[in-house]
């Protein structure tokens, strides 16, 4: 095959550094040039692109990237039809439902019939509330869902938490967990057939580098 295998990595945020590192441990060093989106790597068979973690599943599904590193939560939220080849172990987080600490809501059962939920994860959120028999109005926000209750935008939020620190600071309490997530190596379905040996070689190195198998 006369082209390089393209890996999409989160361009910033909590997944950026560990993603670069896990590849490094597998012998792929990113020779990142500033302001370029496609970077060469120390392995001539691979090149890297940097994209928003939320967009990585889309890149991979459409084959704009053959492989991608991003959260399991994001892959599900994007309903991306990709292979999740490996649980990379890092980026542990939970998608939770939270309400203000002083709220009378103690569990999902207490949620009123007409509630509004602010979230960055409308699909997972909608599916979850449907599965527990609650009808909610989902408001899609970008980034700072935890502000929504303060401003009266929504009584409930569904957001990602790692340590719970941001929630505590914003006086929010968790009433349910929608999903546990970690970072995954996702692969385009066609690329997995075409580059099977190269990708399996990388998988082997990533596993030896300490990532847990799925």
């Amino acid at each position: 095959m006369n082209r390089k295998i393209r890996i999409a990595l989160p361009s910033k945020g909590r997944l950026n550094q560990p993603s670069i590192q896990v590849l490094q441990e597998a012998g792929i060093n990113i020779l990142r040039k500033e302001r370029t989106y496609i970077s060469e790597t120390s392995d001539p068979r691979f090149e890297a692109i940097f994209a928003r973690a939320f967009d990585v599943p889309i890149y991979v599904q459409h084959g704009a990237a053959d492989l991608g590193i991003t959260g399991h939560d994001v892959i599900l939220e994007r309903k991306a039809d990709v292979h999740e080849l490996l649980d990379l172990g890092f980026g542990k987080c939970q998608l939770i439902v939270a309400v203000p600490e002083n709220s009378a809501v103690r569990s999902v059962d207490d949620i009123p019939t007409v509630a509004r939920v602010a979230t960055e994860y409308p699909n997972l959120c909608q599916e979850y509330f449907e599965s527990v028999g609650k009808q909610v109005e989902v408001l899609v926000v970008r980034g700072t869902a935890e502000l929504a209750p303060k401003l009266g935008l929504a009584q409930i939020i569904a957001d990602i938490t790692e340590t719970g620190e941001t929630l505590r600071r914003n006086k929010l309490k968790v009433v349910a967990t929608i999903l546990n997530s970690t970072c995954r190596l996702a692969c385009n379905r066609i690329a997995y057939r075409i580059f099977e040996s190269e990708i399996n070689e990388l998988l082997g190195k990533l596993r030896n580098g300490g990532a847990s198998t799925k």
Partner: protein
């Protein structure tokens, strides 16, 4: 004013490329003896829903007709073709070879999944259940994509019946079957072995799953066999696949064809081989198909086996462009003819068109400057100002080089022809 979400206009350069792909495919399909059908874009929802499975049914645009019946826009063409065969072609000698090139419509909820209207070109080989029929359809798919000019085409083949029967033989519940199918998709042997040990697979099944998941080429299937009495049908499927391989060897396309035990299609009606075609520089399949022996009988009483495929025009085009396909409009020379004498201008354009060169008549009555300006902006290569007689030399402006030459139309056409060589 916009077009509805997921739909688009095709402007001249794009429409022409689109048409090019359609034409090439149409030529190949016809050469192989397939006959074109057209059918309504709107059909009764029960026709379109027959056998396709809930995922596709959910994606159909449905609405109520004036008489209260629920109709839908076609989401694929195999169900309409099955309806046509059952209701209008029962007497036709079989096998029947049909093809179609048409738009289909699918509604998708996910973010930027895909177009809601897209074009498919496909064939159906109806009334024959031999591996030779499957071989023909696969070879036609390979040949069509090659004729388009696509390079590094590959076709991955699986078998819906084989996978289904083997999954059933495991006795696993629905959820575990999904887990197993995913493991097969990931081709992760360690995990697969662990899963099979945990779920007490018989040594025979264990061996079969492992070997099948290792096979990358159809010929490797000869290494797989199961107890003939208990797994008769599975062995039949394996034998069929090997026979398909034999005919692919005869067609000389076996090197493009791979085996993928885990391959499944999103549409439910497949019973036999299933396949997908792809190229390395497009991350989505160009198209696919397979054998559907139980679909047509659902439209009537006749049990008629069939096999076929469809490719997406847009994806073929995207793959071609990714492989450096030269846009067509640049290759074609265009000439604009202007003259004070309408008679000689019309004679001149006719003469140029007769020579197979695109020619337009200046109908604006604008001055020379305006005409030249227009030609430059519209990608016209030459502007020809003809005198009152074609026997006299015409003034020919080359809009790219900005040069002017005087020569007769005949000589001009000769020079164009020489350039083409």
């Amino acid at each position: 004013m916009q077009t509805p979400k997921g739909t688009k206009d095709y402007l001249p350069p794009e429409a022409e490329r689109h048409c090019y792909v359609e034409q090439r495919l149409r030529e190949v399909f016809k050469l192989w003896g397939y006959q074109e059908i057209r059918s309504p874009a709107i059909e009764l929802v029960e026709v379109l829903s027959t056998g396709v499975g809930s995922e596709l049914i959910d994606s159909m645009f449905k609405f109520q007709d004036f008489d209260g019946k629920i109709v839908a826009l076609r989401a694929e063409m195999t169900a309409p073709a099955a309806r046509i065969v059952t209701t209008k072609m029962l007497e036709a000698p079989r096998p029947i070879r049909l093809f179609y090139i048409c738009n289909v419509f699918r509604y998708s909820q996910s973010y930027l999944e895909r177009e809601r209207e897209f074009w498919q070109a496909g064939v159906e080989l109806i009334g024959c259940n031999t591996p030779g029929a499957d071989g023909e359809v696969l070879a036609l798919l390979a040949s069509s994509l090659k004729k388009l000019g696509l390079e590094e085409v590959r076709i991955d083949v699986g078998h819906a019946g084989l996978l289904k029967d083997l999954l059933r033989a495991t006795g696993l519940d629905k959820e575990k079957k999904v887990v197993l199918q995913n493991l097969l998709g990931y081709r992760d042997e360690d995990q697969l072995e662990r899963f099979m040990d945990q779920n007490n697979f018989s040594s025979q099944l264990r061996e079969a799953f492992l070997r099948l998941s290792r096979c990358r080429r159809l010929e490797e299937l000869s290494s797989v066999s199961l107890e003939p009495l208990k797994y008769r049908r599975i062995n039949d499927y394996l034998r069929d696949l090997l026979e398909v391989k034999d005919s692919l060897v005869e067609y000389g396309v076996e090197n493009l064809v791979f085996f993928d035990f885990s391959l499944v299609r999103k549409i439910e009606y497949y019973t036999g081989i299933v396949f997908e075609a792809s190229v390395p520089n497009l991350g989505l399949p160009l198209g696919g198909g397979g054998r559907y022996d139980n679909l047509i009988e659902k439209f009537g009483k006749a049990k008629i086996p069939a096999t076929g495929f469809a490719v997406e025009i847009e994806k073929c085009l995207r793959a071609l462009i990714a492989q450096g396909f030269q846009p067509l409009e640049k290759r074609r020379v265009k000439v604009l003819v202007a003259s004070r004498s309408r008679n000689s201008a019309i004679k001149a354009v006719e003469a140029i068109r007769d020579a197979g060169v695109t020619a337009m008549l200046d109908v604006t009555k604008g001055g020379m400057k305006k005409v030249l300006e227009y030609a430059k902006r519209s990608g016209i290569n030459y502007v020809v100002f003809v005198d009152s007689s074609l026997e006299k030399p015409a003034t020919i402006h080359d809009t790219r080089l900005d040069t002017v030459t005087n020569m007769r139309i005949k000589a001009f056409l000769q020079s164009l022809e020489d350039d083409q060589r």
